[in-house]
């Protein structure tokens, strides 16, 4: 039985071939560094077929889109980015790429379009660019796609996928130490609920209905039910909420990450065979090292 958790890191990346700068490749991965090595043939196993051609290697990562809330959403984003001509996410009027060949500018425009499309807009996706030329192209905005969010320019070597877990640690600490309650509905949150025997997905779903997600404000450490917090907003999934105690604006994706992690942490010992759909990058690294 798999329990949904926000993956630690999952990104969709754009590769550019160093010897052939007009050749690109789109992929997705939870571990960017390892993946790049695979593409370039440094690692024995893996590496996509398209990136195998000797003339195209080595590759460099020019852009990544990250902060996906689920693996599946990242895969769907990747697919849409690979097929911008006929993805349903981009409406026909907005479409930039109409044929198979896509230039760099078109690709960047597609990224912008997808991030702002209704299918992904609430996910709070972030973009990082590692190449100056590409950054310039992004800023140039050749296809005039409205994009309000910030884009980071950075160095690929400095990319750190293991983001700090402070939020989660704080949450864990609080849950274990104190009796927590929701600061909105004032109900007591029982984290150590007895978990019944769960055999089917249906039963699990039922159980989860009684085990609401909780999170905390990373400012004041006040806890709340996710649902209580979200009800204050108009949209189905909020982008940011305000903590009732300190009225600080909290980004929703960050809150959700903590809450899913906590839920997994609390349930993994009690429910047999509980898995997360996305493994952590570090565990994957371990796995690849084991295979000769």
């Amino acid at each position: 039985m798999s329990l949904h958790t926000t993956p630690q890191f999952y990104c969709v990346y754009l590769l550019q071939s160093i010897p052939k700068p007009r050749t690109f490749y789109v992929g997705s991965t939870p571990d960017m560094k390892r993946r790049l090595r695979q593409h370039n043939g440094d690692l024995k196993a893996g590496g996509a077929f398209r990136t195998k051609r000797k003339g195209s290697r080595p590759w460099k990562v020019v852009t990544i889109v990250y902060n996906f809330p689920s693996r599946i959403s990242a895969l769907q984003f990747e697919h849409s980015l690979q097929h911008p001509q006929f993805t349903r996410r981009i409406s026909h009027d907005d479409r930039v790429s109409k044929s198979q060949s896509t230039s760099l500018h078109q690709r960047l425009a597609n990224i912008k379009l997808l991030i702002t499309s209704p299918g992904f807009v609430r996910m709070d996706l972030k973009v990082k660019i590692f190449d100056d030329e590409v950054y310039l192209a992004w800023r140039t905005d050749k296809y005039d796609v409205k994009f309000d969010r910030e884009v980071e320019l950075g160095k690929f070597d400095e990319l750190d996928i293991n983001e700090c877990d402070d939020d989660f640690d704080a949450m864990k600490q609080k849950a274990l130490d104190e009796d927590i309650s929701c600061c909105i509905c004032k109900a007591n949150i029982d984290v150590f609920k007895d978990v019944p025997e769960i055999t089917s997905r249906h039963e699990f779903a039922e159980f989860l209905g009684r085990f609401p997600l909780v999170s905390l404000c990373y400012n004041t450490n006040s806890t709340f039910h996710l649902t209580c917090m979200a009800r204050s907003q108009d949209q189905l999934i909020p982008t940011s909420v305000n903590c009732p105690c300190c009225s600080k604006s909290l980004t929703w994706s960050r809150i959700v990450k903590t809450s899913t992690k906590l839920r997994y942490y609390l349930l993994k010992d009690n429910v047999k065979g509980l898995t997360q759909p996305t493994q952590d990058a570090c565990t994957q690294e371990l796995l690849t090292q084991n295979t000769p």
């Binding site: 689920s70 599946i72 209704p118 299918g119 959700v256």
Partner: protein
């Protein structure tokens, strides 16, 4: 493939297959080398010409087996042992003929030295002539050979012939490719001919002549099998269609042959599919003809034409169809297509029978005479409205019996796209001799409609051609439509009703919903035709479904969902979506599990969502739910 470590052997291949093959080859070579080395001590240095042997005892050799022992089931080793045991001395065999041994070894070494891939003559251990000699000697010595050995010998012969053939014919000699693409030798040896005579019936029938003996599979014989394609069941009518004429054929399934069927067909109101009846029980002479009107044909014109035609007709008793090809074929294509294809149907006149029809006593249908087939061929020229007919033979019976078919609407030669794609329906149009007052009747399975009131272009020509005006008085045309499943071709009794509105395959549910239809959906919407309904669906962003009732069903559910909003007020997709989505959001917020799921960006299964909604007694279509998820950044999965 990334670099793999070097395998055994000095050579390294990238592909594992090649690698394994190479290794096998190396193994073989070492084996042969071993054997050779064992024989080497016996070698003499003297080279002498060799006398070919008369005795064909199997010799230990490195070459793969090409011959079996004459005695049954004796392995090579056993035989060698036998022969040498008897002699008690290995050398004694060779002693008498050192040259034998020399030659043998020489051949082996020669064989080894040459490349394996080329099949040059020096790779052979024995020349063909020697082989032949050997084979013949075997035959002489052992006149009665078991089948197996016979086969082997034959195979050897064939092989030799093949090789010799190939060597003559091609420069390349006996390369594998040339061998492969050369024809198998079809010459028959004496043995073959003999065995042919000895074939018994079974063998003859069961096998091809080339391979008579099936016990051992000879590697050099090919046999070809041709699978007969399954003939399609549907026989398409052999219509001698001239390209100009278009007619659509629709057969009614009426069990009682007395009933005259007449198919009126109007392109504009073409409701039913061209499902044709392949019922063997149906009388072979079915007067069915239908036409499609020329798109430009107007009523007036038609009438004019008729009259002109009328004049030109010689015998008044001839049923004259205005422009109908009158051939009827019983089997017509069951192919449904969005375009009606031109076909000509012949018409044959049915026998006349008393006109009592079971349920419709007041109706006197016009019969057709079965006995006298009237053949008419009427050719329509499509280019202009004028229609001329050429009638061939005509045997007329009673004027009453003669049936006038169809209508004759000038037919356009262009394929006319059907208005909609529907499920299988059959429409029967009955022309009834007396004017009837029939009110529209609609049931779940049947719809009855009188056509003539709707200003259709109907021209009936009776045996006595009436005035065009009076024709309406005398005839009434009733259209009956029912749904027919493609497999069945059951005839429809005249009284059986038939539904017009496309009925989904489960008529039961529709009756239920048909009640709710009236109540919830405003009358404007429910009165819309199916095409317009689907347009509406598209405007709202929904996926249009086949079947008006189905669409109405969907709409009812939606109104139930978002009541009390009136559907007619929602024009654009946005307003429609807004109202639906707001309600959906409300619902989701009310449920802890689903709200949590969505808030935590969990990939949602649409069917689960649908199921949950169903428990809340809301039925919504998956495409609507998908739209909702797409609009709200909810990931969907399976």
């Amino acid at each position: 493939m990334s670099d793999s470590e070097p395998g055994g052997g000095s050579l390294y291949f990238n592909s594992t297959q090649m690698q394994s093959r190479y290794e096998d080859l190396v193994e073989e070579e070492t084996k042969t080398k071993l054997v050779k080395s064992k024989l080497n001590p016996f070698k003499n240095d003297i080279d002498k010409p060799i006398l070919s042997t008369k005795k064909s005892i199997a010799k230990p050799r490195a070459k793969p087996k090409s011959r079996k022992q004459p005695k049954k089931n004796v392995s090579l080793n056993a035989h060698v042992r036998q022969s040498f045991e008897n002699n008690a001395d290995k050398f004694s065999y060779f002693a008498g003929n050192q040259s034998k041994l020399d030659d043998f070894i020489k051949r082996i070494t020669r064989a080894e030295d040459v490349e394996h891939l080329t099949h040059k003559s020096n790779t052979k251990l024995w020349t063909p002539s020697e082989w032949k000699y050997i084979v013949n000697s075997i035959r002489l010595k052992f006149p009665v050979l078991p089948r197996a050995s016979k086969m082997t010998l034959k195979a050897i012969n064939k092989r030799m012939m093949l090789q010799s053939m190939n060597e003559e014919s091609q420069e390349d000699g006996g390369s594998m490719w040339s061998q492969a693409c050369s024809h198998p030798s079809t010459e028959m040896s004496n043995e073959d001919i003999k065995s042919l005579y000895e074939l018994n019936e079974e063998q003859m029938n069961g096998s091809s002549f080339i391979e008579e003996e099936h016990e051992e599979v000879s590697p050099f014989v090919m046999s070809l099998n041709v699978d007969e394609k399954l003939k399609s069941d549907s026989t398409i009518s052999d219509s001698e269609s001239e390209p100009e004429i278009i007619s659509e054929h629709r057969i009614k399934k009426l069990s009682s042959p007395e009933i005259v069927e007449e198919n009126l067909h109007k392109s504009l109101v073409q409701v039913s599919e061209s499902i044709y009846d392949n019922n063997p029980h149906q009388p072979p002479l079915d007067p069915t003809m239908s036409f499609q009107s020329f798109s430009f044909a107007r009523q007036d014109q038609v009438y004019e034409v008729i009259e002109s035609d009328v004049e030109s007709v010689k015998s008044p008793s001839k049923p004259i169809a205005l422009s109908s090809p009158t051939k009827i074929s019983k089997t017509t294509s069951p192919i449904e297509s969005p375009f009606t294809t031109p076909t000509i149907l012949t018409k044959q006149i049915l026998n006349s029978r008393p006109t009592s029809i079971s349920r419709r006593s007041p109706i006197k249908l016009i019969n057709q005479s079965f006995e006298s087939p009237i053949q008419q061929e009427i050719i329509i020229s499509s280019d202009e409205e004028s229609i001329h007919s050429t009638a061939k033979s005509s045997i007329t019976t009673d004027s009453k019996d003669l049936f006038v078919e169809s209508q004759d609407m000038p037919v356009s030669s262009m394929p006319i796209p059907k208005s909609q794609k529907r499920k299988t329906l059959t429409t029967t149009r009955l022309q009834i001799s007396n004017a009837l007052i029939v009110s529209d009747y609609e049931d779940s399975t049947v719809k009855l409609r009188k056509i003539s009131e709707n200003n259709r272009i109907i021209i009936d020509l009776d045996a006595e051609i009436p005035d065009s005006e009076s024709s309406d008085d005398d005839f009434s045309i009733i259209e009956i439509t029912r749904e027919v499943k493609p497999e069945e071709g059951e005839p429809n009794t005249s009284g059986q009703d038939v539904s017009v509105v496309q009925v989904p395959s489960s008529p039961i549910t529709t009756t239920e919903h048909s009640l709710t239809v009236a109540t919830n959906i405003p009358s404007e919407i429910s009165s819309l035709k199916a095409t317009e309904l689907s347009k509406k669906f598209k405007a709202w962003g929904l996926k249009p479904v086949q079947g008006k009732s189905k669409m109405l069903e969907i709409l009812t559910n939606i109104t139930h969902f978002i009541d009390p909003i009136n559907l007619t007020n929602l024009d654009t997709q946005q307003t429609f979506q807004q109202s639906v989505f707001i309600k959906l959001t409300q619902l989701i917020r009310s449920d802890q599990l689903w709200y949590d799921r969505i808030l935590s960006y969990e990939p949602i299964r649409i069917d689960e969502l649908k199921q949950w909604l169903a428990t809340q007694s809301y039925i919504l279509e998956p495409d609507l739910l998908q739209m909702y998820c797409d609009n709200h950044s909810v990931t969907t999965t399976n």
